[in-house]
Amino acid sequence: MWCNRLNDAQTAGDAAPLELRIAAKSFLSADGARVDVVRDLQLRLEAGSFGALIGPSGCGKTTILKIAAGLDPDFRGQLRTPGSGRLGIVFQEPRLLPWRTVEDNVRLALPADHANVELGDLFEILGLGSHLTRYPAELSLGLARRTAIARAFAVGPDFLLLDEPFVSLDEAIANRLREELLALTARAKVTTLLVTHDLTEAVEMADRLFFLSDRPTHIILEKALPPPRGGRSSDVVASISDEMRALVAQAAIAHAKR
């Protein structure tokens, strides 16, 4: 059973927080122009806690996530990742291997010591049961996204990076996946960073919200939410969301004035 493995992972994980300082991150575009994406960003997330990253489209969220994943060493700053290095990541697009079936795509990502773990339950929960032998080109986008989520969950991560994982899914499935994610992070000590445009989703699930400015991005507002996460009633979520919206609007104006 795949859950068992997660429990193992818990005992293996150490208690380091995610610490990310990006003094500056820029890209060189094809026409030679420098695109400044991140400036003076400081982000700290306690081990086992759940952060949400919210910001305007194109501000640099994906860039930050990739740096946190250690995929982009080309930035000025420092990175300290939590856990034992077992990373689960859901990219903004599914990024499946087109020439491998759904099941193989998930299995190939498993660490060697868990190569033969039983994944049936996970696939059932994600509604992939009848598609295991399909190739990615034969999947709908929603199914492909679910495969990518299955991959991230299946490795038994102690560090989870999610880039808008629940878009392009119908409400029922999205809710089921959110619950599953909450259960996973509750069971094991998983440090999670979620990128989302959906404030309600963020407030429902996170311990801590990070609001980002426009490009070059940095944190304009950081907010710790009172526990228990996942258990907040919809009224509470709505009221926190409204409050946040107002605060962010203020902060954005202040930022624009600077």
């Binding site: 994943a69 990373l87 990541i89 990219f91 990024r95 087109p98 020439w99 990502a109 490795v155």
Partner: protein, 246 residues
């Protein structure tokens, strides 16, 4: 399969008609060639020479493909390595086959090692060039994925790199096999005491078109068989994941 057969029959029919019209010793018809093949098969001459050639083709092909793929991949992935190795590649690529063959025979000796090496070295840069393009076109997004999930090196090559290189491998091994075969003919012509190239050399000085064609056709038939029974089924399997165009 059926269409391929029809098409082959058409090819042979056209050949037969042209040969019948020209009635020239210089273009023997399919029947003449068929008879020549039968005769030489009975005497054991043809199978023997063919086997010699095939051995050389196989050996040089394998050497050239393996080394060429590795070098091409490395050059496609590392800009620095590419910059240093590229001039050498251009030199090797454009060195006339004859020069390479000569050097091999003179410095290694007029023997099998020299022959096989000469062919492999002739073919190598072509493989490198194709595989380098393949490596350059690798998808960086999938790469990131594999890095994030810490794919083992072997798994990365098998599941990520090779499938992306597959069309390049297919192209360079298909055209490569034919190039290797052609160079083996020259190498045998110049300095081997057996093989199809040796036979062609003698047949050429006698202008024995029937002999030339019958050996050439035997190799072609072999390639057609390999193509139909091995390469194409393999290819179909390897391309199963591709969406069929609607």
């Amino acid at each position: 399969m059926l269409q391929r057969t029809y098409s082959l029959i058409a090819l042979i029919a056209i050949w037969a008609v042209v040969a019948a019209l020209l009635q020239s010793r210089l273009l023997p018809g399919p029947l003449t060639i068929g008879a020549a093949i039968l005769t030489d098969t009975r005497t054991g001459e043809l199978p023997f020479q063919m086997a010699c050639t095939l051995g050389r083709v196989a050996a040089s092909f394998v050497i050239a493909m393996i080394l060429g793929t590795i070098a091409g991949y490395a050059m496609g992935r590392s800009k620095t390595f590419d910059r240093y190795a590229d001039p050498w590649l251009v030199v090797l690529l454009n060195m006339p086959a004859l020069v390479i063959i000569l050097f091999a025979y003179i410095w290694i000796g007029l023997d099998e090692t020299a022959a096989i090496l000469a062919v492999a070295v002739n073919k190598l840069p072509n493989v490198v060039v194709v595989m380098r393009e393949g490596a350059r076109a690798l998808d960086p997004e999938l790469d990131e994925m594999a890095k994030a999930y810490q794919f083992a090196r072997f798994s990365r090559i098998r599941n990520l790199v090779l499938p992306q290189l597959a069309p390049y491998l297919a192209a360079s091994s298909r055209s490569g096999l034919s190039i290797v075969w052609k160079i083996v003919l020259v190498v045998e012509l110049i300095g081997r005491p057996n093989g199809v190239g040796f036979v062609l050399g003698s047949a050429f000085s006698l202008f024995d078109m029937a002999k030339i064609l019958s050996y050439a056709i035997c190799f072609i038939v072999l390639m057609l068989v390999i193509e139909s029974l091995v390469v194409q089924p393999l290819e179909r399997r390897a391309n199963r994941w591709r969406r069929r165009p609607a």
